[in-house]
Symmetry: C2
């Protein structure tokens, strides 16, 4: 049985300001919740229509599940986890940095790519979409538990960063023939505007993904697919 | 001014059976419509709240635009284009084939990738999502006008195909060290189940994208990002 105040808390967490205020976020579905339970994330509350988890949970009705779920077809359970404290960024190895990526689906895909390619640290500019947004959490399929994500003033960070800073631009050198180190920051830009001017100034190596189709067309690659290709090139 | 029958026709086209029946599909927004007008696609009807196109159009009110648009914030115009007749597949060069890709966003992204990497021919199994689905059309950003897409019995096609057939599997040879020709079919599988058993039997070279993160986790890459990496490897 759910109290009104609980329903209010859970649904409020779909807005960033309430996630920040309560330092909580929502995970839905058995598989996703299980991945977070098996990780370093700390459970706050678990609501389920069936007793299938090894941890304390509140049994709720299907009707209550529909009230608190954001999914069209809710999957058994909704959990609240605590937002972890920032772990200071270790400036070693390859780091991916996002300069104002706004689409939750893109951020989710990029977090999965970091997990796949063993990128431990993801830096996000303050205007990048929140990684505890429910659409991002659903899209990451648990990868969120294995990548360290930090929101910060990206410009200030890069100003003090000692190694190479890579960025993708139309006029960069082809990523296929550049020598790519195993230390550095790779910056990916905003969906509509690419990398901002302030960050571009701090990029020390401009890269590009060559286009093989009709060269007269000014279309660009989606930021998530561009990230896939760039990370694959650094790691291959 | 829109007649009731026109509104009924346009909204019916959000369902595949009516697109097939009328052989028409919907394009929304100024930029998208302009790309289709500049292509080999044939316009059927154009509805716009402003006289901004060089072709015959019906002026409609904002209220009417909201009635016929599928977008939350409609952008000025909605156009109906004719679905082109199938162009027979030329079995030369690299061909991408999709074995039951179901998500419109994934198909849209994959069509953009074909356009970027100069893949002229995309083959889709009959259960693959319709490329004239409005979400696919919006996601392709005009790339749909530059890639030849054919729906067919993929198994029957591959049985008669003379060159190599590539597919991505967990146990394939790493794509980073395989010799990749400029002739062949590359098969990408369904989001949940990968490549079907029937198609797997027809694959002559199994590839895989190496995982660099935690190897104990059985997560897979999203089909669109996997396609990005595979096409990049074939073309680099």
């Amino acid at each position: 049985m759910l109290a009104k105040s609980q329903i209010k808390l859970i649904t409020s967490l779909h807005q960033k300001k309430f996630r920040v205020q309560h330092q909580l976020f929502v995970v839905e579905g058995i598989k996703g919740i299980q991945e977070f339970l098996n990780s370093h994330f700390e459970l706050y509350q678990l609501f389920s229509t069936a007793a299938i988890f090894d941890v304390e949970s509140t049994l709720i009705s299907e009707q209550e599940l529909h009230k608190i779920s954001r999914l069209k077809t809710p999957n058994t359970a909704v959990a609240l986890f605590k937002i972890p404290k920032d772990i200071p960024t270790a400036p070693t190895g390859l780091i991916l940095a996002l300069d104002d990526v706004r689409d939750p689906g893109n951020l989710g895909t990029i977090i999965r790519l970091c997990d796949w390619f063993g990128i431990k640290q993801l830096l996000c500019s303050k205007a990048t979409v929140d990684c505890y947004n429910s659409k991002v959490v659903q899209a990451t399929m648990g990868s969120l538990t294995r990548v360290n994500i930090q929101y910060l003033d990206l410009e200030a960070y890069l100003k003090t960063y000692a190694h190479a800073v890579f960025g993708t631009f139309m006029d960069g050198n082809t990523v296929y023939s550049e020598s790519l180190p195993d230390q550095g920051v790779i910056v990916m830009g905003n969906e509509a505007n690419g990398i901002s001017e302030a960050i571009e100034k701090l990029v020390t190596k401009k890269l590009s993904i060559p286009r093989f189709g009709n060269l007269k067309v000014t279309e660009s690659l989606n930021v998530a697919t561009a990230t896939a290709i760039i990370l694959s090139e650094f790691k291959r």
